[in-house]
């Protein structure tokens, strides 16, 4: 009996040790900086430089949050970020949807127009931001909310346009055609038929535009100063840690990353489309 080789190999059900190790290692790698930041944000200042480090703060405190929000004007940055990101998101989703619909249904401008918009996504920001800085200073848009809203709208438009372009192309035309046959104007066919059907796509595009604005640093660094500064630019205050403001930096980071992570995880079904500008359907 033992000598007879089994005819069919039994399906291997062994535990994939290598995979579990790799995934476990990577999970730890992702979570560790987040944990340490949170840990630092609630740690009393006395625990900063102990050896060994304090892994679990025994006396958590919120003093760093208070200092980050008020003494370092984190709250002002938060409010500015909200105003600017939300406005730019609405404009970008609106104009992006309008343009995408025209590109998808009427093939406006052929490939040239759509690829011209796409090419904007790959321009290095440093090439744009220098002249925009000079222009903004000239026309009084430097360090204004409106200035940054316009800049962010343009900067997120390629993604909005291309995500919605892909979405409209994946949607059947028949509804809009029926509406046109029924005597609707083209605008009505778009606004009352296509837009409601595309609503999930528009929301997804808006979420990614918001995250892009919320996390943006470079434009905000150069185009704002004391008035319209956004949350990411507040971190300049902690560079070099002259006064060892580790807790404040960590607290502000925690405050800032919660909204974008929450939105991103909620919209993760659309993540692949968002990352590839609609080129890949997730």
């Amino acid at each position: 009996m033992a000598a007879v080789a089994p005819v069919r190999r039994p399906k291997r059900r062994s535990i994939p040790v290598g995979r579990i190790l790799l995934l476990g290692f990577f999970l730890a790698f992702v979570l560790w900086p987040l944990y340490w930041m949170f840990n630092t944000s609630i740690k009393p200042s006395d625990d900063y430089l102990t050896v060994p480090p304090v892994w679990f703060p025994t006396a958590p405190t919120l003093v760093h949050y208070e200092a980050a929000l008020f003494a370092y004007r984190g709250l002002d940055g938060l409010i500015n970020s909200l105003i600017i990101s939300l406005s730019a998101t609405v404009l970008s989703a609106l104009f992006g949807t309008l343009m995408a619909y025209s590109l998808a249904r009427y093939n406006t401008g052929g490939q040239h127009l759509s690829f011209w918009v796409l090419s904007q996504r790959f321009l290095p920001p440093i090439g744009i931001v220098l002249p925009v800085f000079l222009i903004y200073r000239g026309v009084g848009l430097y360090d204004t909310h409106i200035g940054l809203i316009i800049a962010y709208t343009v900067f997120t438009l390629p993604v909005s346009v291309w995500m919605m372009f892909a979405y409209f192309r994946g949607m059947p035309k028949s509804m809009e055609e029926a509406a046109l046959v029924d005597g609707c104007t083209r605008w009505e066919a778009f606004w009352r038929v296509a837009v409601p059907l595309a609503a999930p796509g528009i929301v997804a595009a808006a979420v990614f535009a918001f995250i892009a604005c919320w996390t943006e640093f470079f434009f905000a660094l150069i185009l704002t100063s004391r008035t319209a500064f956004t949350l990411p630019t507040v971190f300049r205050a902690f560079i070099g840690f002259q006064g060892a403001q580790y807790g404040e930096a960590a607290a502000l980071a925690i405050v800032s990353l919660v909204p974008s992570i929450a939105l991103g995880v909620l919209a993760q079904r659309h993540l692949v489309r968002g990352l590839t500008l609609g080129a890949v359907r997730g």
Binding site: L22, F26, L27, V30, W32, P33, L34, W36, Y48, P52, P53, F95, L98, M99, S102, L103, R105, T108, L113, Q120, F122, L123, P124, I126, G127, I128, L130, P131, V132, F133, L134, I135, T153, V154, L157, A178, A179, C184, T185, W187, P196, I211, T215, F217, P232, I239, G240, F241, A253, S256, I261, G264, V265, Q268, L271, L275, T276, A279, V280, G282
Partner: protein, 313 residues
């Protein structure tokens, strides 16, 4: 269905639609009116600034030198013959190349472990994508907290693991500062590779693997014969997108090293930023940014051309 029904009811209720002169005109030019806002915005805030900067790069536009005289190619010469500029371009290529390569391999490995469903996969997925939604500034801050002496716990952990005193200046000593910058980039963007490659992997028809298994092909051969060719377009897409973002590297450097020590961690973006906004040689910076733009365009042409050819979409 209900939309069209509603609209036809609306139509039936009212008089036959009569369009005013404006509405007729708008309906005729509908497709151009829809693209107008976006196109005008891009023209105003991207094309016009680029042309403006082209002008600036041929004149004197310097907050330290008065007047706007035409200077020909002098601004370009200043950049080309600046050793710091050449160093920063080289560093940009190195840093982005190494970071993207590590992100690609690690992202592919993690994606391979996540193809099949298992309990907890959804939760793990949600955790792995978190770095994508965090500002690079905060990523730089987080790694600073971990690495910087004397506060960061990294050296302590390494000391315990290796059994000997480790005192690495992660933000100040070469080559460790490059390692730090690469780690921060890898932390943030490996999920990008992972998400796209996973989408590609799950799109491969499973019956191919079943057929291969029946033919007695082992897992490694199946990877080379099935996975790799099917995944190639997606790999190229992920690499292209990631590389074009990686060469802009600025935020983490701004927070972690400030370009220092000296100019050791100047990337192209950081160099141009310094020339323009701390030395206020604006025309030299715009000239440099045009050179960088051309450099980027070459990379785009090489990669995106390939991409458009191979992509089956």
């Amino acid at each position: 269905m209900q939309h069209t029904a509603t609209i036809s009811r609306l139509k039936a209720a009212g008089a036959p639609p009569r369009l005013s002169g404006f509405a007729q005109w708008a309906d005729r030019h509908f497709k151009w009116l829809l693209v107008a806002p976006a196109v005008l915005l891009i023209l105003a805030l991207s094309v016009y600034p680029l042309l403006f900067s082209l002008v600036v790069s041929f004149i004197n536009y310097d907050f330290q030198v008065p007047g706007h005289a035409f200077v020909g190619l002098k601004n370009f010469e200043r950049v080309v013959f600046d050793p710091v500029a050449r160093w920063s371009l080289l560093l940009t290529a190195w840093l982005s190349g190494i970071s993207v390569a590590i992100e690609f391999v690690l992202g592919l490995l993690v994606a391979l472990t996540m193809v099949r469903s298992f309990p907890g996969r959804g939760v793990i997925m949600s955790i792995l994508i978190v770095p994508l939604f965090i500002s690079p500034v905060i990523v730089g801050q987080a790694w600073t907290l971990l690495l910087q002496r004397p506060f960061g716990p990294t050296n302590y952990i390494l000391t315990q693991l290796l059994g000997q005193e480790v005192t690495i200046g992660w933000m100040t000593e070469s080559p460790w500062l490059y390692v730090s910058l690469i780690i921060a980039d890898v932390w943030q963007w490996t999920p990008f590779m992972f998400v796209i490659l996973l989408a590609g992997l799950t799109a491969i028809p499973p019956n191919l693997y079943e057929a291969a298994e029946l033919d007695g092909v082992n897992a490694w051969q199946a990877f080379w014969a099935i996975t790799l060719p099917h995944l190639a377009p997606m790999m190229l897409l992920a690499l292209t997108f990631r590389l074009l973002d990686a060469i802009r590297m600025f935020d983490t450097i701004f927070i972690m090293t400030g370009g220092g020590p000296g100019t050791r961690t100047y990337t192209a973006s950081y160099y141009l930023y310094t020339v323009g906004f701390t030395q206020f040689h604006l025309s030299q910076a715009t000239a440099g940014s045009w050179l960088f733009l051309i450099f980027t365009a070459l990379v785009v042409m090489l990669l995106v051309r390939r991409l458009l050819k191979t992509e089956p979409v």
